[in-house]
Symmetry: D3
Subunit: 330 residues, 6 copies
């Protein structure tokens, strides 16, 4: 998919108006309050990850609606903490997978939290998983998770996922292995969208993040994305609206509550984005829409001109290893 | 998709062993009993279908778990009944749609019931719809409905849908517009699978059907289908198992409870099947697996050699119009 | 196919110059006069449509070159007329099909005429059909009907089809079942292009239409369409010109005589268009080119932003049911 | 398209039963007699081919129904004859093209006749062309030429084309530039099918051919081809029958009159076939069906295991140059 | 691939800035000097091309690094010369093939040189071939030849190929069969790029060409091409840079030394280009970039609006036959 | 790609005859002797991998022809050795990448060697890389590495790569960090083929391996693979032979020297294979051909029925972690 979106020079100044509901902050304040009605109830069980250099714990905590959400916590073998902490969210279809699957931030010497995305994980499998135990999960939708409950912000799938993401931040604020003052969030694609969401909602949750590193983030500027690309998962929204032609207004209203652009406007943490100019899954203009609206002034973006949605891969990991080291040292 | 499956001569005698759980009948007896714990609570509201020749009612009844399931009832304008009744189930992604969308059996002078498939309908839209209001709907699954709750027969999506299908048969047994002794079930693809399921479970529900007319039915011989075709929706199962590589046994055990082959073995009503020999969505061998195992002796199948999943379309409708007329006259 | 064409705001004012030959009106006046040299010779034979609520007649009349063209006439069972009349033209590859296939306007209480498109119908089959019995049909062309006879307007395939369409209007003006003052034309895709053509040529034929309702119409602004889309059937023209590189001028001159834009400029009847913004078969700018040039001032257009060439389907049928009722009541 | 058909060892002995109508010979005898009712009326006009080494004539003769069919005659510049003669038929979508396009057999010192396929040529263009001036050309068909007039052998497109092919053989029997005793026929794909047809009908036409060299021939064993491949042009037949589901018997009856297998059974000339084992357009089993049934005992076949429908290209031309030289020397 | 690039009116004046290294001329002067350190050592061996009208010689000469490069020389049978000479370069994947494969310019009465492209030829095969016998050929690259040695202009694959192309021009300047004052270069796609390169470097090599006729040329304006199209072979560059994300600057610096735009700026010979407006392999803007920068004032371009990368084919050959005749007569 | 190959039951006993040249062992004995003429010259330079838990060395050693081949050596931070050692080879298009990219076996407490595949790596990039510095690399071939030098076993690309693989085993036999008695080889796809090759050649090199764990291995039973699949990279061979139709015998003779089946016949180490039944890149029958011929009696294979070429991923890594632990403990 050659460079189908705006030229780089235009992307760099692309700062579109994205609809923001008047009650955006109230909605999320209410949502988080509702979630906190459930005790966070964190549990950490050591698991055998088959690795000599890393200790892994099977973490559970109360997510949206009190659903037990699972995560791995990886730390250097024998570490006691408090450790600088990297919270990783995952891409659409993925989840935390096996305890040996992804330990890069623990290898770097940090605590590494890797959160399940409720209902997902079919791409990797890997044992116990986190269902989306909500009565709203089965509302009429197109295949996939993008339109589950989309007719109302209160029933929408990502309201629950964003809540899970924030609740995991709460967990980082009160655990002896984790240094509550040195927490960064990161992830690619959906995981990048969740990192932006976490950074945007962290102030509401009273959490001060040391950094936010979204890669080729998803869930940003839905209106443009749906009009611009045929790739899934944005395409799921068009598939839904191709049938329920009368639901577009309601659906986009709901999406405005979870749009990464609106969340970026509220994010204060230093940020390191990445974007790929041939990314047909998360088009570069949708990434720049969030980046250029990102509120924190300490921000930068790595551009991969010849990549599709795989983005920077090893190159970006190297950049993040350096950047996290700086953030944690700062 | 040229003729990729067995040659017709082999199809005609293809009668594979398909796994059947020992407690199959108990499972469904229990499931239906559980459903009947909810009062059927049928409601019929006249709606404006914009048509002069047909009267349409918006029907609701208690499906699995008591979920209100919607259907249209179309009858000739001014008809009083009792009328011979055609129950139509819909293909994957479809649902009852608009009240003017599909009235063919009412045009033929019958009562025509057109049932929503819970959670679905994104292909056609059309207003009010039936959600899958089950706490199990959000269990980890691949996009689509095929693997929702697949790890246990009690949580599986199609257990609920089949239950809805049977409960609608119950509704036909006690309504002045409908002739309880002259009820046939029909549908294409998923709707054909549901017709087989309804015919197979009707004896358990104490309903005697006058006919069962599944077109290019889906939901038959899952093991072969998943191995043979890359087309959705069977493909959803492979996508799920490609990740959760350790769930194949559990998943196929669950599927054995809803396999159209096992249901066909219990169906007594006269049957008119159709099959398309170039059907890459519901491969002909999976259709013949159900047809050749179908218990009722009064059965026939129309073969469309050069068609893909569209099957016989107008040709098959003509055949059904004739066949239903015979059934109802009989 | 995401939104690949102009943005909606630009579409709404898109009114391109489209080549119009000086002798456009003479050409069509002459063509219709030539057709009228053949007696219209309408015949109506009752057929068994297997439906209780609708009576169907097998209609034949002399089309271009005197070719007998077939149509169905559906009316409410037992109706005597004169009835408001809906003339339906069909999409490329389709034809009138079976007598039970499409009766929606008869169900609404009207007379419903459904015309064969000569030579076509391979998508639906359905029994007797209308060949394109012209000595020009076999002139060198690319597969399909778009370039048959394209080197001269007098030999072009659509000259014959448009003539058939107008001759069917003539039939509506003199039959006891049909109310000559309340006739509307409609159709989707090619059927929409034919509806525009019928409305544009109706004044020449002395017919006053009560409405014209083209859905996602084909056959409009060929020059843009061929340059913009790779989808068939517009693509057939590019395929022809990719070989006969020296025939472009002649071919586009011919097309200018049948371009829906030039016919829309002459159409007086009230109009209800539809357009889909992701329509890669009949790109929205080609639809708007016809709509914005449509001469009748009483016009509106329904926009389906997230649909491809399927357009509005049930939603648009609902809109047409309402709109026809208004037209016929007016 | 890897090796999807039978293994080579099975192909070599693949000699399927192919339906042959009882009146096959009568049909063709009658057809050729009907054609001969038109005077052959050959004309040869010198044309400027822009080449120094080759003289080219624009040939016309009366084909089926008396239609003037065009061909190029290329001879070495200044040649007077009689020359050994190669008659070339062309592949589907192609035609004789420009006078400079294909002169290989003239370069080899022979007379080279290159015949237009009526109605075709859109792939190459090239100026004057041969239309299919038959009233049957516009009978209902799927896009393309494969199903034009397919419901009856007397109206079928290839009846006319085969007749053209034979009439060109007649032309070779009586012209001072051409050596009537040293005539070979050749062509690739459709051209190969026509070469087989010409060789099979030559005895009926009283022509004794010196050789027949079909490459990857089309038009052989239709029943298997249509069931086996999705590639056009065989696919056109499935597309037609997918709609007109009730026409399969009539269509295959018609095809039996033009099936290359039945024509090969009657061909006496020495033969050099070629076949490609990855040929998804003309599957190898359909080629071997004709080859193994070919009546002439002096026959061989070149096998290209790793080629799709392009077959042997330069390799096969080299083989033919050698083989024709032998035939002409013999 | 419909018209995806700039509109024709913009193309006609499209004259983009393309990076040109300061030492461009020094680089090529040095490269050619380095090549001339090897004696040209031309050899011509008569070969049996199986053709009566054309004599063919198997030519070898010392290309870049002294590698023996092969070519065919075709001349009218028995010709003695000096003959006007057409040098043909070949498209990517092609090579000189068989001696009988392509003789068009010899048929026109000229000497016809057809050069192997080192390392290539897999598309046509054809016997002896020219390897790319350079120690740099195996440097890390993406599949294909586009990125072989791309990190430095001195190791880049096309530096060697361009050198071969120029050395063949040197051969034309001193052979009794060839008229050194009447030499034109031509070719399609990669062959067109090589023709431009030969014309651009000819002045450095002291050769005065009578004409340059590139068809749909490749190897022009790489930066735009790589950003604009997903088609191979330009796509190979994006594939390389998608992995080696840090090599873009070095790669594009290397490409600037072989960019057809920079070579066109130096070409003096009269020129006849061709371009296809639907060419997704060599997008029209990249062709126009070279054409509009072409230095020679006597230039024209044939535009094929409805063609993809096949361009003008027979139409363009006809145009070239006329144009070469004029050049050689002049 | 559903299950297109043999059924599992047939796969389990699939033990085809695969051509083996008489001088197979001589060829490899000579090849290795030739390689050993170059001093192995191993160098290990510590590099900053940005990881706290792992130490990484940039390794270089003399591969085939003396080419310096690069590898990473990862060990637990501060480890001194001798450590059990896992040698990892990489999949086609991949290479060792970044020092932080793949450290799983070091995390498990082992020494982890990750070897560059000469000439490759375009998929991941990552800095310094290993070119294929052979004069034979540029011999005519189809894009990719599969046919580079394929006409003779002595010039074939994989002769060099297999030699590199064995030379790295030699390196493991004499280094203080590495336990020469506890060395296993592993890799996926091409890496799996290289693991089999290393295990098959290890006896010739005097190395006793503790295990061989190929995942979905490539480079096995070429004749079947090329006939069965259209997926690259096997497809590269068909692309080459589609042009050079006369090179098939020579090419397959060359391939017989590197066929994983012939190497497996000589492999003694305990083995853990994996295979995916929907693998269209390395079809399961080609994997089983190697597995069933594998000489070592202590062997097992993990089957992933619903996976394409991704195979077992995390599931197989878990299995390997367990299996290596057993091997190293043994």
């Amino acid at each position: 998919m050659a460079m189908f979106d705006l030229p780089l020079a235009e992307l760099e100044s692309y700062r579109p108006d994205v609809a923001e509901p008047d009650d955006f902050d109230d909605f999320w304040t209410g949502t988080l309050a509702e979630a906190r009605a459930f005790d966070l109830a964190p549990t950490l069980e050591p698991v055998d990850n088959r690795l000599a250099l890393v200790d892994t714990y099977d973490v559970s905590f109360a997510g949206a609606g009190g659903t037990p959400v699972r995560a791995w916590l990886h730390v250097p073998a024998g570490a006691t903490g408090p450790l600088p902490t990297v919270v990783q969210y995952h891409g659409y279809s993925h989840s935390r997978g096996f305890p040996h699957s992804s330990t890069i931030w623990a290898q770097a010497g940090y605590a590494h939290l890797s959160m399940d995305t409720r209902g997902q994980g079919w791409r990797v499998g890997g044992g116990s998983s986190t269902g989306d135990a909500s009565p709203d999960a089965g509302l009429n939708h197109a295949p996939g998770f993008m339109t589950s409950g989309i007719l109302d912000p209160s029933t929408y799938y990502y309201r629950r996922v964003y809540t899970d993401a924030v609740r995991l931040l709460e967990l980082t604020q009160d655990h002896p292995l984790l240094d509550a003052r040195r927490v960064v969030v990161t992830g690619g694609s959906q995981g990048g969208g969740l990192a932006i969401a976490a950074a945007g909602l962290a102030p509401l949750a009273g959490v001060e993040l040391a950094g936010c590193a979204p890669d080729v983030p998803f869930l940003c500027h839905f209106a443009r994305a749906v009009a611009l690309t045929d790739n899934h998962p944005y395409r799921e929204i068009a598939e839904y609206l191709a049938g329920w032609r009368d639901h577009a207004e309601a659906a986009f209203r709901t999406l405005s509550y979870v749009d990464g652009v609106n969340l970026a406007k509220r994010a204060l943490a230093p940020a390191l984005f990445s974007v790929a100019l041939m990314d047909a899954t998360c088009p570069p203009s949708t990434v720049y829409a969030a980046y250029n609206h990102y509120r924190g002034a300490d921000k930068s973006i790595n551009v991969y001109p010849y990549n599709d949605h795989e983005g920077g891969e090893g190159y970006q990991v190297a950049a993040q290893l350096d950047w996290f080291a700086e953030r944690f040292a700062g």
